[in-house]
């Protein structure tokens, strides 16, 4: 019988493998190869171009930290923009915030959302039906260049920069995001695992330094993003967002009554403490 396994092809000399119990969905186009399968440890796993994007069992690490850190730091975000994030996991965490009145998600490929609803229903858990939600099928970079609206929080949930998400790591894109931020608004994006891809965080730091009054990174160690902590980028013109006292975060968290598995106000504060090699890379 043929051995059925998925070997991640992100790095030449190192990687993770998953046994495949069942393949749920696979599509290959000239642009990308999408695979959703089941694994005994991680549940349903979605891989794009040979790289794990999300799994049912560990997605909460990433989606909770991407959503709740800026939303609790802001404290009164009404309008949220999600760029990418077609699986719906990030949206699920955002709509837990009652203060949010409107969530716009810009996804380049509508079929990703449909596929996720069918095969990764636990990611969105009905969030795509939330009355505050609006889906825009468009190129995220094009959307932020032309949109007329303002957002309190912009969340960029992209693929890695080798793939089609490359433009979402450009200075021009960050500049366009800045223009869309309402006063006091916060931009958060994913910047890979610095142990493996230090250049990514370095490059983003250079762009943020040029554009934002306050910027930093915070960490979250997602099990299937191999190589240790992943860094999420933080950029805003409002420096107090990053230094909201623990007591305030605790109060907001208690008032929100949001059920989390990774996020706590203490994790929130601690996540901004970066290892020295990352500090040096971003010259902080």
């Amino acid at each position: 019988m043929a051995r059925s396994e998925f070997v991640e092809t992100l790095y030449d000399s190192y990687g993770q493998r998953f046994s495949i119990d069942e393949v749920f969905f696979e599509s290959r186009t000239e642009h990308q190869h999408l695979l959703i399968f089941h694994n005994a440890k991680f549940g349903r796993v979605m891989a794009l171009d040979g790289v794990v994007q999300t799994t049912e069992r560990d997605e909460f690490y990433y989606h909770e930290m991407l959503a709740h850190v800026p939303l609790f730091a802001h404290g009164a975000a009404k309008r949220v923009l999600i760029v990418g994030g077609g699986d719906g996991g990030l949206l699920r965490e955002v709509v837990k915030h009652r203060e949010v009145e409107q969530v716009t998600q810009v996804e380049i490929d509508g079929s990703v959302v449909e596929m996720a609803k069918t095969w990764l229903p636990d990611h969105s858990r009905g969030a795509f039906d939330d009355p505050r939600f609006e889906l825009v099928i468009a190129d995220g970079a094009e959307y932020v260049r032309t949109a007329e609206r303002r957002f309190d929080v912009i969340l960029v949930d992209s693929t890695d920069p080798i793939g089609p998400g490359e433009v979402l790591f450009s200075t021009a894109f960050y500049r366009d995001c800045d223009a869309l931020l309402a006063p006091g608004g916060v931009l958060v994006n994913q910047n890979g695992v610095p142990f493996m891809q230090l250049d990514e965080v370095r490059k983003t730091a250079r762009a943020f330094r040029e554009l934002f009054a306050d910027w930093h990174f915070y960490g979250v160690a997602v099990p299937t993003y191999v190589g240790g902590i992943m860094t999420l980028g933080w950029a805003t013109q409002e420096p107090t967002r990053r230094t909201v006292p623990l007591e305030v975060l605790e109060e907001r968290f208690a008032d929100a009554a949001i059920d989390t598995r990774y996020y706590t106000p203490a994790v929130h504060r601690g996540a901004f403490a970066l290892p020295r090699f990352v500090q040096e890379a971003i010259e902080r």
Binding site: T9, E26, Q32, D49, G50
Partner: protein, 398 residues
């Protein structure tokens, strides 16, 4: 063409297996008949002649889906040179872990395309190429291509690519300084080489670089890529692969055990696996000599006569009477489109077939559509029952 015609050696009659006339009736001419069982046999022969060596099929020789599917089924690995070849592998669900990207000169978008496919081994032979890999240095492993000039090869590849061996230490140091992981060395002594001496010499000259870890290197070298060059028997005078590889096996015994040896055969696997069937479509006596016009020529499947400097055996199925030196010409309007000048053959009539074996490598691959003549159709015999592209749900990732 001014080169002398090579007469068909009797040994090649063994290739007259299929009923060429029936195939020509069923599919029309010109026709290329791909024999996937012969492809398997070639793979097994070379694998047996080079035990322990991982064979990466050089797709460029014959980039056809049935070839990929058959060799993947045999357990072969693959050598990629372009993004188009990656697309072909993807359609056949070849696991990227079984591929290496070996083009020494690449554009950035080609590197990214290969990484997105999942191929993480690349070849470089100069500092500019190392620099192109620097943005991806945490993801890739590098084979440094070394050049050993070999004027006896039919196609000497050491002129266009490869770092001269005396410049190798500096190039390796440059890779180390850039944080690139050099996995090993590769060389190409040429294509269709006369004997194994060049391979043996190149192996010996690579040994000093494989034995110890260089100071400053991320890791010691663990790969030696022998390239291609394994010859096939176009003319009845080429040694069998077992004999050709014997001295190479001896040289490989000196390679340290931590080094995995790989090779990139293209021609050896593909050439004997495909046969051209072409028909006489016109004839004339000019200057006292018979001219026969065929429906395939040097702008089509016989393009290898120009680009690959190869002459293929030509077997007329229907010649009548005493042979006389004749001209076999291709179907285009260009005067260069001549397959053979002094081909001894009895009388041919319109509709008669000429069968040309050994036409798998660098034939269809380099054919053009000059004169708006379509490329010759390839019919695959014995291909794996289900080409992977037919089933979207098949997963072969192991």
């Amino acid at each position: 063409m001014s080169e002398p015609t090579i007469a068909a050696p009797p040994v090649l009659l063994e290739t007259l297996g299929p009923d060429w006339r029936a195939l020509a009736r069923a599919h029309g001419t010109p026709l290329l008949v791909l024999d996937c069982d012969r492809l398997r046999l070639q793979y097994r022969r070379l694998a047996a002649a080079l035990p322990g060596v991982t064979l990466h099929y050089a797709i460029k020789a014959l980039p056809h889906e049935a070839v990929i599917a058959t060799l993947a089924d045999e357990g072969a690995s693959f050598d990629i040179a372009t993004s188009g070849e990656i697309a072909l592998l993807e359609r056949q669900y070849v696991p990227p872990a079984r591929t290496i990207h070996t083009h020494p000169i690449k554009r950035d978008d080609e590197i990214r395309r290969a990484l997105r496919y999942g191929c993480t081994t690349f070849v470089a032979d100069n500092v500019d190429e190392l620099d192109k890999l620097v943005p991806y240095r945490h993801r890739v492993g590098v084979l440094v291509r070394v050049s050993f000039p070999n004027p006896t090869a039919r196609v000497d590849l050491s002129r266009k690519f490869g770092c001269a061996v005396d410049e190798l230490p500096a190039l390796l140091a440059a890779a180390d300084a850039r944080g690139l992981h050099v996995k090993g060395l590769s060389f190409h002594v040429g294509s269709q080489v006369d004997g194994p001496a060049a391979h043996v010499d190149a192996i010996h000259r690579c040994l000093p670089f494989l034995e110890t870890r260089r100071p400053g290197a991320l890791a010691r070298a663990t790969v030696l890529d022998l390239g291609g060059g394994f010859p096939v028997n176009y003319d009845g005078a080429t040694p069998e692969i077992e004999a050709f590889c014997a001295p190479i096996r001896e040289a490989l015994a000196l390679v340290p055990p931590h080094v995995a040896v790989i090779a990139e055969p293209g021609r050896y696997l593909a050439a004997p696996a495909m046969t051209c069937v072409t028909a006489v479509v016109g004839r004339a006596r000019r200057g006292g000599r018979m001219w026969y016009y065929l429906d395939d020529g040097v702008y089509g499947s016989f393009s290898g006569q120009l680009y690959d400097h190869t002459r293929y055996p030509l077997l007329p199925l229907d010649a009548r009477g005493a042979p006389e030196p004749s001209v076999l010409a291709g179907p285009t309007c260009d005067s260069v489109d001549v397959i053979a000048e002094d081909f001894p053959v009895g009388e041919l009539r319109i509709g008669d077939l000429i069968v040309a074996p050994m036409m798998g490598a660098y034939t269809a691959a380099s054919a053009s559509e000059f004169n708006s003549l379509p490329r010759t159709r390839i019919v695959a015999l014995g291909a794996p029952a289900k080409l992977a592209a037919a089933d979207e749900r098949v997963v072969r990732l192991a």
